[in-house]
Every structure is written in C-alpha cells, then in structure tokens.
C-alpha cells in the first residue's frame, strides 16, 4: 500500500512518495526491510572503510537512496523524509552501521534541513530542501577559522549588508578552515560576523551560500594520513542574497548551537570502536599475538570499554525513544567513544610491531591490512565536533555545576 506525501504549509510536495507508513510496521519487520535492502544493494567494496569517501565514489549509492525516498530518514514526511519515529530511526542507523555503509557529505540532511524546518522561511525551504533530498546539493560547513577553533564565537569573517544590483545582499570576506570535503560541495553554510560592535556571541549571523559563487576559493589541506578530507575556504567579497540569511540577523550563534547537540550523540556511537576491535583482533591473529596473555588482558579491557560505551549509548537512545530531550551529559559518549577508539588504534600499532610503521595496506601473513588507518582516523576524532577538552568544560559547568573562573 502506498501512502502519499503529506502536503505542508509551504504548499509543496517535497521528495518522493514513501512506499508505506514505516512507523506502522513492527520494529523487527522494519529492520528486516532495511537490512535486506542494504545487503542486496550496497556495493561490497565500499563497506567498512577507514577513511571518508569522495562524492564521486558514493554518488551512485546515495542517488539511489534519494530516488527511493530514504535519504532523510529523520525528516518528517511532509518535508520529504521517511518520518521515522525515534525508535525506527535508531534501527535504521543501526542497520547502516552494521553493514558498514560509508557516510557521504550529509550536512544538508543532518543540519540544513532540520535548521530550515525550525528557523527558515517557506521560501527558503522551497529553494533548498528539494536539492538536499535529490542529492543535487551537497552542503559543507563554514564554521572554524584559522584564529577561531574551540573559541568559535571569536570568528572574524565579516558580512556587510549592502544594496547591490540584484537587491539587498551580504558582502562576505574572510577565511574558513577544517571544512570537510568542501571540494565536493555545491553549497556552504557560514557563520559570519554582522555586528563587530556587539559582544562576541551576539554579532554573528547564519548564511547560506553557493559554494561556486564568485570570490570563493577552496584549497584542500593534506593531512598526516596523506588524505585531503579538510579544506580551507577563502571568501573574498562574496555576494550572498539577503534572503539567504537564516533566522534573524545577529542571532546565528543560538541557531548554530542548537545543531551541535545532535553531533554529540552521533559521534558517540559505538560503531567505530567495535570496528576498531575487529581490526585489532585481526592484527593480533596475523602477528600470532592473539593468545599472548599480555595482549589478551589489554584487549579485554578495551572490549569492556566498548561494551560500556554501548550500554551508555543504549541508555541515551532509550531516552530519545521515550521522547525525552538529551542534556549536556550526552557529551560522555563523544569523549568516551573517541578516546577509547584512540586506545584501540594505538594497541593495534603496538601489536603490529615492526609493521606498525608501514603505511597503507600492509601484508601480514596471507592478508593485507591497513594498520595505521585507524590510528590516523582516531586523532582528529577527539578534536572535531567540539574538542574533548571543550566537552569536559561543558560537563564541569552544566552537569557538575563547578564554579566559573
């Protein structure tokens, strides 16, 4: 039975029709449908990869997801999403993780869509949601700057509202950095300073821009693993229509902060650590160390670190399913998952012995294995999404109520 997309206040049908009302299915029936689809259609050579993939590699899969109406599982039906309840959404994400499906540059679905549903105008939704749902638009994030990392609110990229030939527009000048996969993006969302006189959090606005607008230049940054996942983005008198301002002017900080909560849950998923344990076990087997008591002891300790992460994650997930908001204590997941992953990756390198210094796919016995891949991946994890030191500050202040200096 097909059920048609609900019409919304914007007067537009977004996305494609959903095959059925997913929430009306039992949990296990829904899981079986999702699992069968992934197992049947997801390309085997793209499973469980230790690094981010470029859009060209993932394009076919995600265009298929878009065509199927599965690109935005969490979005409401009226905006073209699958409209999944929290319980069904968790199942969807679990199955995605279980099958090792690579993440694309999904800021559009994860951030811009929910943002526009909450703060955007109908006109903005009509302009931007369809592109996100069809994957024609790929969004990247313009937050950090060379001088503004953890202290993001000190950002200096300027945007001045002027009368231009095409009406009111912002003129944006400055520099963004650590922008993930900006090379592949068609659009960028920006935090910019619109009132240099105001207190630092109060003069910031949230803008949507065309990544290929004149004046925007992208330079990939080569990282210590030799990959180019991050970019610098230079903005030189870039013209952005005034209609691309999200929410009120000078209120961008509040808007941006409301999006960060989600990252802390998704960054706390046990999947990276579970994957890391499997890699570690493989290294131990291939180097003949899997039964070494010293290795077994360290491995069991890490195994428990991951089990308890999963136990804690299940607790937060249960709160989401009950419809409860998550508090600042959710930072626990981000800290523990990323630091555990680092310990796992470090033990992998140690266990590999002399081969621990070889980069790329390394021959161990009959198999080739990327030993340093996890190690490299584990380093930025404690830095992005709010560094672990910032997360500890949040817990100290908001959970433990310790005094400020």
């Amino acid at each position: 039975m097909k059920s048609s997309t609900t019409i919304n206040d914007d007067g537009v049908r977004y996305g494609v029709e959903q095959e059925r009302d997913w929430n009306a299915l039992g949990d296990e029936a829904f899981r079986a449908i999702v699992r069968a689809d992934f197992e049947q259609h997801y390309p085997a050579h793209l499973r469980y990869l230790p690094h981010r993939l470029r859009w060209a590699e993932l394009r076919d899969w995600y265009l298929r997801m878009a065509g199927k109406g599965w690109i935005a599982p969490a979005w409401p039906r009226e905006f073209g999403g699958m409209g999944l309840s929290p319980a069904k959404l968790l199942i969807y994400l679990e199955e995605q993780e279980r099958w090792g499906i690579a993440r694309y540059q999904d800021h559009g679905v994860l951030m811009i869509g929910p943002l526009l549903m909450r703060y955007g105008t109908p006109e903005q939704r009509r302009r931007f949601l369809p592109g996100i749902l069809s994957c024609e638009h790929i969004w990247c994030q313009g937050y950090s700057e060379p001088g503004s990392g953890s202290d993001l609110a000190s950002l200096r990229t300027r945007a001045e509202l002027v009368d231009g030939p095409n009406g009111r527009e912002f003129v944006v000048t400055g520099q963004k950095t650590w922008t993930t996969l900006a090379q592949d993006a068609t659009h960028i969302f920006l935090l910019v300073r619109t009132d240099p006189q105001a207190k630092k959090q109060e003069g910031i606005s949230f803008l949507l821009a065309d990544r290929h607008a004149p004046g925007i230049r992208v330079r990939p940054i080569r990282d210590i693993a030799g990959h180019e996942e991050f970019c610098e983005v230079f903005l030189d008198d870039v013209r952005v229509p005034a209609d691309n301002l999200v929410g009120e002017i000078n209120r961008g900080w509040t808007i941006a902060k409301s999006l960060l909560g989600f990252e802390r849950v998704s960054l706390g998923s046990p999947k990276f650590c579970e994957y890391g344990l499997q890699m570690l076990l493989r290294i131990a087997r291939l180097t003949g160390r899997q039964d070494d008591p010293a290795f077994r002891d360290k491995f069991a300790a890490l195994q428990l670190d991951v089990v308890h992460l999963a136990d804690a994650y299940a607790g937060f997930a249960a709160r989401l399913v009950r419809g409860e908001p998550l508090g600042p204590d959710v930072s626990l997941l981000k800290i523990w998952s990323t630091e555990t992953f680092q310990r796992i990756a470090a033990l992998g390198v140690e266990t590999a012995g002399a081969a621990g210094g070889l980069v790329g796919d390394v021959q161990l016995g009959d198999e080739a294995i990327n030993i340093l891949g996890s190690w490299y991946k584990s380093r930025p994890a404690t830095i992005y999404g709010g560094s672990n030191e910032i997360q500890r500050n949040i817990i100290a202040r908001e959970v433990l109520r310790l005094p400020a200096r």
Binding site: Y48, L277, Q278, L281, R282, R285, R296, D297, F299, A300, A301, Q303, L304, V307, H308, L309, D311, A312, A314, G315, D329, L332, I335, W336, E389, R392, N393, I395, A396, V399, L400, R401, L402, P403, A404, R405
Partner: protein, 380 residues
C-alpha cells in the same frame, strides 16, 4: 496499567523507602566499624523489618519477589550511604543459594531465619580465593553418623553468621550443606577487612554434618552456589556504584567550597577535568550495572545453571565498578588534599569500603580476564 508499570511503581516506592532509611552518615558508619563485630545491629534489624532481606524470595516464602532490580537498587543505596551491613552476603547470596535448593525442613528453616535477620554465610572459597564453586577446598566423606567435612574455606562473610552454607566436594560431586557456627571440629580465624568488617577463615577438621543438613547435591548444588555467587558479584558492583556516587558528590562539594589563591579550587580547569573523568567512570559503571541487572532479570525464572550471558554481564559490571571505584577513590583523596587522608573526614569511610568491595568476589583484573574468555569478538 500493566505488570511492568506495577513493578516500576513498586520499585520507586522501595527506592524512596531505602533512601529515607539509609542516608550518608560518617559518624554512624565509623561507630559500626568500631563495634566488636564491625556491624550496625540496629540498622540490620531495621532492614529486616522493612522486608528488604526477603526481596529476592517468592511470596510463598514470605518474600516480595521484586527481583534483581530491587536488590541492586537497595545495594546501591546502602553503598551510597556507607552502610556495610551484610545485605549482599545474606539477602542476595545466601538467599539465592537457598532459593535454588530443593524445599525441605533445613532449607525452609534457614530461609525463615534469614528473612528475620539471622545471618547466613556462603562458604566456598579456597585460601587464595576463587569464584567457581568447583574450586572449593572442603571435602566431604561418608561416615556412619553422616558426612565429615575437612578442609578450608576463606573469605566467609558475614562473620556474625550463625550458619554457613558450605560447598564441599565428595567423590567428584558437589554438595551444599548447612553447618552451625558452633559445630564441633570447626575452628575459625577472623580477618579484618579494610572497611573494619570481619571475614572468616574456617578450618574444618572432620566436622560431622547430619544428612538432613544436605541442601543440594551434584549439578543442583553447583548451579545454586554459582547463581548465588554471580548475584553477589553483580550486587557488589551496585554497592560500589553507590560508593562512587557519594565520593563524587563529596568531592564536588569540596571543590565548590574550598578556596585557595582567592578563588574556589573548583574553578581551576585541571581539577574540573579530573572531576569529569571521575563522573564518566560513574556513568559507565551505572550503564554496566544496569545492563547486567536487565540480563539477570531476563534469566530469573530459567532453571539450571546461570546462562553465560549473565556470568559475562556480572563480570562486565564488577570489572568496571571495581576499577572505577579505585580510580575515583584515588582521585577523590588527591583532589581533597591532606584532609582526604584523615579518618575523621567522611571520604575515608568510602575509601575503605571501596578497597574492601573492589577486592571481594573477583577484582577488576579477574573479571576483565573472565569476560574476555567468555565473550569473543567476531572478526568480520
């Protein structure tokens, strides 16, 4: 209204009652510690009156059958309040062992007494300690008048128990029998635990036990003792969780009150982050204990040996709780400075309780290793 809601509401009432009964009180805890038997007799009587000692027993045996969630909840609150009465040793371990033995006059009398506050202690550990019932260093031999027990059982708690449930081996089979504390041929050495309590080392020199005192034999005896031990492991983890929670609270308060260099020391980021690390260990312990309680309650009605999933879950909880408790203990003392090392400050009660419980029923290293052996990570 359904059964689950009913249980949730009943548990909330129990939680409230235990919280009203057991409040952190270092003076009370020290007085109990300094009493001759290291026990607060009034508190123990109070627990019996409240019916908490019967929390795992079915209604037919005078219990409330609230299951592991209730037992863990009570244990946690006692740990939080610095109560060291033998709730886990008696109401969880001895009660579970007896419950899993076939009904009979000896078992039923012991259970009736236990519910009213008569302490019973499980005895199975060899001199260097072990969790498996099969490790017992007590052997039984058939004699004309009954069975004669010989050997040693150590780490027997509580010391004030009037009866011991002794796991013994006879011709390669396990048996569990009741032995009175004043039985002829039984001698004991009292050992002091860090928290001021007492643990017994029992020496059996042909202690004669009547056949009517045999509670269970063979596989039934083994699974009764095993269930008792593992339930004790889990509830000890819950007690440690309570102690960790209180140590964290005390330290948090101290950081907010203590001033040096003209400001509250809790404003220093180095100290803040260390308190966060303590808090994270508490949260992980809570998650691990919660998962284990769920596993135990899911298997509660299954006969026979405890499923491996429960044994693994008990190890998971106890490994985390023991390690977290010793970590939080060390950090709490350090963040307090010199006052943290004194007996007159509240923290000391929890430091010593943590040392005792972290080592009891398998420490972190033991449980890590057992967990690793039980739960394999599959290569993909």
């Amino acid at each position: 209204m359904n059964d689950k809601q009913d249980l949730d509401e009943t548990l909330a009432l129990v939680a409230q009652a235990v919280a009203d009964f057991a409040k952190p009180d270092a003076a009370r805890a020290r007085a109990a510690r300094d009493a001759a038997d290291g026990c607060d007799a009034a508190a123990w009587e109070g627990m019996a009156e409240q019916g908490w000692l019967a929390v795992l027993l079915p209604e037919s045996l005078g219990g409330t059958a609230l299951g592991m969630r209730a037992a863990a909840l009570i244990a946690e609150r006692l740990g939080y309040a610095g109560h060291s009465e033998p709730f886990v040793a008696t109401a969880v371990m001895a009660a579970t062992a007896l419950l899993r033995c076939p009904a009979g006059p000896c078992r039923d009398t012991l259970l009736e007494g236990l519910v009213r506050g008569r302490c019973v202690a499980l005895a199975w550990q060899p001199p260097l300690g072990a969790l498996s019932p099969a490790a017992t260093a007590v052997t039984a031999r058939e004699e004309r008048s009954g069975l004669a027990l010989s050997g040693v059982a150590r780490f027997v708690v509580p010391a004030q128990a009037g009866q011991y449930l002794v796991a013994a081996r006879m011709d390669g089979r396990m048996l569990l029998c009741a032995v009175d504390a004043d039985a002829s041929g039984l001698s004991m050495v009292k050992e002091r635990t860090a928290d001021g309590g007492l643990s017994l080392r029992l020496d059996f020199d042909r202690v004669v036990v009547e056949r009517s005192a045999i509670l269970a034999q063979g596989d039934a005896a083994e699974s009764a003792v095993q269930s008792a031990i593992e339930s004790g492991v889990l509830c000890t983890a819950a007690e440690l969780l309570g102690a960790i929670t209180r140590m964290l609270e005390v330290t948090q308060t101290y950081l907010c009150e203590r001033q040096q260099f003209g400001q509250h020391i809790g404003a220093f980021q180095v100290l803040q982050h260390r308190l966060v690390d303590m808090w994270m260990q508490k949260e992980l312990t809570r998650a691990a204990v919660g998962a284990a309680v769920t596993a135990f309650d899911a298997a509660a009605d299954a006969p026979g040996p405890l499923p491996d999933a429960c044994v693994a879950a008990a190890s998971s909880a106890k490994a985390r709780a023991s390690e977290a408790a010793l970590f939080v203990t060390g950090q709490a003392v350090q963040l307090h400075g010199a006052i943290g090392t004194t007996d007159e400050y509240e923290l000391g009660v929890y430091v010593n309780r943590s040392l005792t419980l972290a080592a009891a029923l398998g420490n972190a290293a033991f449980h890590r290793s057992r967990f690793g052996a039980l739960v394999a990570v599959e290569e993909r």
